[in-house]
């Protein structure tokens, strides 16, 4: 069972950092849901540090996508999905993490149709999470 082909990148999706808070144009698992994870009373320095980490994570998403699309075995695919699933939610990308988890589950269960559908969703979310820092 191999990785399903990736759909074309979503159009018109961009997001950025403005005054230490993410803003985003994408409605799907965009960084717009990230501020909900940040307490309002979080000191400015910590907020800035977290936003920097989020940006760094987003910059690494293309490499994570490559690890998924380029996986040459079920084990490698499952490992790449597992790592993304574990990391994404901590950075506020809850839908992305859930989609990776579902794909991981389908891969482990050798559920090819389920995996194809889950990967399609996952690729869409990965495209939506691509960031252009303004």
């Amino acid at each position: 069972m191999g990785a399903a082909p990736a759909p074309a990148p979503a159009e018109g999706v961009s997001a950025g950092v403005d005054d230490g808070r993410f803003t985003a144009d994408s409605p799907a698992d965009s960084p717009a849901d990230i501020p909900g994870n940040i307490p309002a009373d979080l000191p400015a320095a910590q907020r800035a540090a977290f936003v920097q980490l989020q940006r760094r994570f987003q910059c690494g998403l293309p490499a994570r996508r490559l690890a998924i699309t380029g996986a040459t075995s079920d084990g490698a695919l499952q490992s790449a999905l597992h790592r993304l699933a574990g990391a994404a939610g901590g950075y506020g990308f809850t839908a992305l993490g859930a989609a990776a988890r579902e794909a991981e589950r389908c891969c482990a269960a050798a559920d090819a149709p389920g995996l194809a559908a889950a990967l399609h969703t996952l690729y869409g979310l990965l495209d939506a999470a691509q960031v252009t820092v303004r």
């Binding site: 994870n37 940040i38 307490p39 979080l42 910590q46 540090a49 977290f50 980490l53 760094r56 994570f57 690494g60 490992s79 597992h82 790592r83 699933a85 574990g86 990391a87 994404a88 939610g89 901590g90 950075y91 809850t94 993490g97 988890r101």
Partner: protein
């Protein structure tokens, strides 16, 4: 041991290590030693002398349970609470992991803003168990 100060994090994904460090150092004010795998943890634990260990379950070199078993053989690590970090939260899987001798389990993805607070009960529980055993 009067307070939770030093936490060792064992996690193979660099993004998760970074968010762990942010959560525990920047938000929680703790001292953290991050290890990329079980062998690294075994090498660093005697010098770092953690008050608590956060341990990933699925790692490529040594698995979490294997690492826990090896850590328990170190004299410096006797009675130190070890908490697994995993996405596998099905009750039977949780029970299986706890049977390896872990104090508890944190489900990934974790909330970086509350992690330091969330692990404290495990440290308190471990401290009580250690006092009882001693």
């Amino acid at each position: 041991m009067t307070d939770l100060k030093r936490v060792m994090c064992v996690e193979d994904d660099p993004d998760i290590r970074m968010i762990l460090e942010f959560s525990l150092v920047n938000v929680g004010g703790l001292e953290v030693c991050c290890c990329a795998g079980g062998r690294d943890a075994l090498a660093q634990a005697p010098n770092f002398r953690p008050d608590l260990v956060l341990l990933d379950v699925m790692m490529p070199d040594l698995s979490g349970p294997e690492t826990l078993t090896a850590l328990r053989e170190l004299p410096e690590m006797q009675g130190v609470p070890v908490v697994f970090m995993t996405a596998k939260a099905m009750p039977d899987e949780v029970e299986q992991l706890l049977q390896h001798g872990a104090t508890g389990l944190i489900v990934k993805p974790f909330d970086p803003m509350t992690l330091a607070r969330d692990i404290r009960p495990y440290w308190e529980h471990g401290r009580g168990a250690g006092a009882g055993a001693g």
